[in-house]
């Protein structure tokens, strides 16, 4: 039987149909400095060009054998389009991701102008998806991601206003969260309409390092439910940091798959969610791909698989300055050790 293409593998994986092997992919940034260097550009240049975004994603997948490509790489595209600006650190040494320099200083100031969704770099990201869907079509799965409404909120307004406001100024915070939720839905639907293969909603700033489970249920869950109600499958919910206390709440949001970072106890999580939900996670990308010796990487991947994931995902964007031999160890170990069925996805 002919091997599946990466795209077929990922599509079947999310439909929970049998696949030939565990796909090696992510719902977060997979760009590598090796791809950037091969293109002869600097990291700071990649974010503002549809062509650079698409080519760097495909070159990274070509170099290391990933099953997917995914863009954009920075978390500022929507905030920038909303008028908050972006700093790309053109003259910084090494890799530095863009940030949002100008946040609204009060909830009352937050106003989204008509047509914001077509401003700044938003059209370039859409163009990058179009290039990927055309040129990587049939070869790589094309992944997309959006920030969750709370995390997006933290990009456009001082986070402490939001956190304190949740207790002191609930009505205005809820109105703000509604605005952010509408924005997330609009953008995610646009990417889905282009034909991306999966959509990851990264509510990364909402873990229990910051919020109590009680506040998560009140401030985060209703908005995520609304988002997942509106989006097509496959759709994934990813949260970084402390998540053990909110696994059940996350599982009630309506996503097809849950993704966690390295702080999550995957064995316990699998028990809580059962075998019908796709579980993704959860190696520490910086430690595993940039720090460890390559010989130590297979044990990390095997531990994730043994803990019950359906695909081994990094806990966050991979740090672009990876050791190539470590990435090779990630890919090879998952291909080999992931031949057996996982709890939610069988094998052909």
């Amino acid at each position: 039987m002919a091997a599946m293409t990466p795209r077929e593998r990922v599509q079947k994986f999310f439909r929970r149909e049998p696949v030939d092997a565990m796909p090696v992919f992510s719902g977060m940034g997979l760009v590598t400095i090796q791809a950037i260097n091969k293109m002869g550009i600097r990291f700071a240049q990649v974010h503002g060009s549809a062509d650079y975004l698409a080519r760097s994603a495909m070159t990274s997948a070509d170099l290391f054998g990933f099953d997917s490509v995914i863009v954009p790489y920075d978390m500022c595209t929507m905030a920038e389009a909303m008028g908050r600006g972006v700093t790309v650190y053109e003259n910084a040494e090494g890799v530095l991701y863009p940030t949002v320099p100008d946040k609204w200083t009060s909830l009352d100031d937050v106003k989204l102008e008509e047509g914001w969704i077509d401003k700044a770099r938003m059209p370039k990201v859409e163009e990058a998806f179009k290039i990927l869907l055309k040129e990587a079509n049939g070869k790589y799965a094309v992944g997309a991601w959006v920030l969750g409404p709370f995390t997006l909120g933290g990009q456009v307004i001082e986070l402490d206003l939001l956190l304190k406001g949740a207790a002191r100024d609930r009505a205005r915070v809820e109105a703000f969260m509604d605005k952010m939720t509408d924005a997330v839905i609009d953008v995610a639907k646009r990417y889905q309409a282009l034909g991306v293969d999966y959509m990851n909603v990264r509510e990364m700033g909402s873990g229990t390092d910051l919020l109590s489970p009680r506040m998560w249920k009140q401030l985060i869950q209703p908005y995520l439910k609304r988002i997942f109600d509106e989006l097509k499958s496959p759709k994934i919910l990813h949260i970084c940091g402390g998540t053990d206390l909110i696994v059940d709440l996350m599982n009630d949001c309506g996503a097809d798959a849950l993704s966690f970072d390295q702080k999550n106890n995957l064995v316990e999580t699998r028990k809580k969610i059962g075998n019908d939900v796709i579980l993704l996670g959860n190696f520490d990308p910086w430690d595993t791909l940039c720090q460890k010796e390559a010989a130590d990487v297979p044990a990390v991947m095997k531990a994730c698989i043994d803990a019950g994931v359906d695909a081994v995902w990094p806990g966050c964007d991979i740090w672009p300055e990876v050791k190539p031999e470590n990435v090779a160890a990630w890919v090879n170990t998952v291909r080999e050790y992931g031949k057996k069925p996982s709890p939610a996805v069988g094998r052909i």
Binding site: T87, Y89, A92, E93, G94, V95, L96, Y97, T99, V100, P101, K103, G154, L159, D160, L163, K164, A166, A167, R168, T208, D209, L210, L211, S212, M215, C240, G241, L245, P285, W286, D287, Q291, C316, D317, W319
Partner: protein
């Protein structure tokens, strides 16, 4: 002089005001402390800081999370702003030392940094706050300018953590005796060790725990009549 009974009453009100994040109560009690002749340092350490220690316990027990801590910090600052100008002795008002603090370039998140800053403010340090998204060389320049004993660096994301290593190298190269503290979600003990730092806290919540522990140590030293530095 205020009676011991009244002193305890005011201290309790300051402490409770911080724990229950009641800014008005803290302001009223801080003003009362000054009007009634209480020592400002006593009110800060045994009222406001004592309240923050209780907040730390509540965080440990997962009754309080970061939003509550932020509101408690607001209440603490409401009192500190009133009391601090009335500190009497040099050792009360800043001779404990100086600290340069900021969030490294590429990172605009500063909740953890602000909580650690609070600890230094309460502890009587002179704080040079560089803010957030601070160019790496600025930390070294500010340390040299101020001769600060401590430099505290914060990064919330893995993607900005790498800048810390460069800052540590820049500072230690010129002045190996400077103590460097790292904070932020991606910072682990191993990372702190690898980068050559002297201390770390891994999240905003942990930062406040560490800060509260340090305040607790200062209070114990003060109560034992020992020099705090």
């Amino acid at each position: 002089m205020v009676s011991e009974e009244r002193r305890q009453e005011v201290l309790k009100s300051l402490s409770e005001g911080v724990v229950e994040y009641r800014e008005d109560q803290v302001k009223d009690s801080a003003n009362a402390a000054l009007e009634e002749g209480m020592d400002a340092y006593d009110a800060i350490m045994n009222g406001l800081a004592a309240g923050m220690e209780i907040v730390g316990d509540l965080y440990d027990r997962q009754e309080y999370f970061v939003p509550e801590i932020l509101m408690c910090a607001d209440a603490l600052y409401a009192g500190l702003d009133i009391l601090k100008p009335h500190l009497k002795t040099a050792s009360d008002s800043g001779a404990r030392g100086q600290v340069v603090i900021g969030t490294v370039q590429g990172d605009v998140h500063d909740i953890g940094k602000n909580l650690i800053k609070m600890m230094f403010d309460v502890g009587g340090f002179t704080v040079h706050d560089l803010g957030r998204d601070v160019p790496l060389e600025k930390f070294a320049e500010e340390q040299l300018r101020t001769d600060a004993e401590i430099v505290a660096l914060s990064a919330m994301m893995t993607t900005t953590m790498m800048g810390m290593k460069k800052v540590i190298h820049m500072i230690k190269e010129k002045n190996p005796d400077v103590a460097i503290m790292l904070g932020g979600a991606p910072v682990t003990r191993d990372v702190a060790k690898l980068f050559g730092a002297d201390g770390y806290a891994e999240s905003a919540g942990n930062a406040v725990q560490e800060a509260i522990k340090m305040i607790g140590q200062l209070r114990k030293l003060d109560q034992a009549g020992m020099p705090a530095k």
